[in-house]
């Protein structure tokens, strides 16, 4: 669906250099702290900014050469923009209906009602969470086969995030050829939803792994300095000095759990993995 090949973009000190892929039928997540370059990658794919190097393919074509038909197949949620907020939901539905031939007004109004968004009020008067929901509903209602969602859950509370992720899961269930590229700085959103995850830090991809592997075989080992000296280092990715010795990130927790019973082995959450990837030193 999307192939991002060695793209580069420079903003003063910030330098983006990134390669990634969104396969057909997959949910691909991009995580990283604020300013890591998530939105820059998204904007590059959406052709809102221009590349200093590299190339991007969407649907097998250069991303600058998509025609109107192709673009109708893509739904985009920008982290910081949507229709100007002087419109009401009714206005927005009318506009979307005239821009997208496949816009499903019934579904859209259904969602609006289900989540109790006010139909006749200007979007200006919405709360942040309501605005975020509206942005996402717009993306879900024109049968796009590629969703590019930059921070779609930002500003939502826990319950709303869960509801919205369920919507996205249902969307994927409807058609197995749909794909999603999604970013979030809340890794919990992505843990249970993405098939694979890219981790970006200072403009570079520092980790790319199936979520299944991240949750199943990545983990944190805690040990004393002496234990650290003795163990096999071949599956350690990062280490960090602690009061008691070292905590290490591994992509083979079962290997260490079986062979070194004295070491504390924890299954890592994605947050911990990011922390160690970013803050830890290479082994």
């Amino acid at each position: 669906m999307i192939k991002v090949n060695q793209i580069e973009k420079n903003y003063g000190k910030f330098h983006l250099n990134c390669t990634m892929e969104v396969p057909d039928g997959c949910v691909t997540g991009l995580i990283g702290e604020n300013g890591a370059g998530k939105s820059t990658v998204f904007k590059a794919i959406e052709n809102l900014i221009f590349l200093d190097g590299g190339s991007i393919e969407v649907f097998g074509k250069p991303h600058t050469e998509l025609n109107a038909k192709d673009r109708e197949q893509i739904a985009i949620v920008l982290s910081d923009a949507t229709f100007s907020n002087v419109y009401t939901i009714k206005d927005v539905a009318r506009i979307m209906g005239s821009v997208y031939p496949d816009f499903d007004k019934k579904k859209f109004m259904g969602l609006v009602e289900r989540f109790r968004l006010p139909k006749n009020q200007k979007v200006k008067e919405f709360s942040t969470g309501m605005k975020a929901k509206l942005k996402l509903f717009l993306a879900l209602c024109h049968k796009a086969r590629l969703l590019i969602l930059d921070e779609p859950t930002a500003g939502m509370d826990v319950v709303a995030r869960d509801e919205v992720l369920t919507l996205l899961r249902e969307y994927m269930e409807e058609d197995e050829h749909r794909s999603i590229l999604i970013s979030s700085h809340i890794s919990g959103d992505l843990e249970g939803f993405c098939d694979e995850i890219y981790m970006i830090h200072e403009g570079k991809i520092i980790l790319h792994e199936d979520t299944d592997q991240l949750l199943g075989t990545y983990g944190v080992l805690k040990m004393t300095e002496e234990q650290y000296r003795k163990i096999d280092h071949s599956h350690l990715l990062r280490r960090r000095k602690e009061i008691y010795g070292y905590s290490c990130l591994t992509d083979e927790i079962h290997y260490y759990a079986e062979n070194y019973p004295g070491i504390t082995v924890e299954k890592g959450s994605i947050d911990e993995i990011i922390m160690l990837m970013v803050k830890g030193e290479a082994v």
Binding site: K43, E46, N47, L48, I49, F50, A68, K69, R71, E72, I74, I76, L78, D80, A81, T82, F83, S84, N85, V86, Y87, D91, R94, I95, M96, S98, V99, Y100, P101
Partner: protein
């Protein structure tokens, strides 16, 4: 052309936002009609306000970074620019019709009975000025953003009038006979039957130049 239609509908949805402005226009019109004064000022006032309307729609589009979102719809940047011109020309046309209607009403109830032929000429001249204002405002608003654009546009026109005035003054001081010739030439091109083709040519040139400049500006813009 679905894209352009969608964008037009989007601008149409702004009617609610500009209704105050439309009410003011109606109010001023009413005063003028009952006053029975010449409609020249009224026509000019309405056409210039309408010419600035498109700039206003651009500033609404830009609100909360909305322009970036519009660019992610299945609409090309060129189509966006085209829509702004279509929208602007349509509203100028409506303004033209409106001023004509006002002129007719005035001639029916008025005591001064304005000349219809002259009213048309006045409206055409102001429509040309409207087209010029529109063309400049689209390009400038897209380049500098609608807020800054408005200021720059006003400054720009002031500078142009100032230069024109200075030029005429300069001619008068140094070559008085040439100034006369120039003013006469200037009057002749806007005279009689020649006025309409001259206006058409001016409009076409300005519109085309501004359209291509605007497309280039928007196509180079990053969000």
């Amino acid at each position: 052309m679905k894209g352009i239609r969608g964008l037009l509908i989007k601008d149409l949805c702004l009617m609610g936002e500009i209704r105050k402005l439309l009410l003011i226009i109606l109010f001023v019109t009413a005063i003028f009609i009952f006053n029975g004064t010449s409609s020249t000022f009224l026509t000019g006032y309405i056409m210039i306000i309408i010419a600035f309307l498109v700039g206003m729609t651009i500033s609404y589009d830009e609100m909360n970074n909305g322009l970036a979102f519009l660019m992610t719809l299945p609409v090309t940047r060129r189509q966006y620019v085209a829509e702004k011109f279509i929208c602007g020309l349509l509203s100028l046309f409506l303004g033209f019709v409106y001023t004509m209607v006002v002129a007719v009403i005035q001639s029916m109830i008025g005591n001064s009975a304005p000349d219809l032929k002259e009213s048309i000429m006045t409206a055409v001249l102001f429509a040309v000025i409207g087209v010029i204002v529109l063309s400049f405002s689209i390009a400038i608003d897209l380049k500098f953003g609608a807020e800054k654009g408005r200021v720059m546009l006003l400054l720009g026109f002031m500078v142009i009038f100032f230069l024109f005035y200075m030029g005429v003054a300069f001619l008068e001081r140094n070559f008085p006979e040439k100034k006369e010739a120039f003013l006469q030439w200037f009057n002749t091109i806007f005279e009689g039957s020649k006025i309409y083709p001259v206006c058409a040519v001016i409009c076409a040139v300005v519109l085309l130049l501004s359209f291509f400049a605007s497309c280039r500006i928007l196509e180079k813009k990053e969000f």
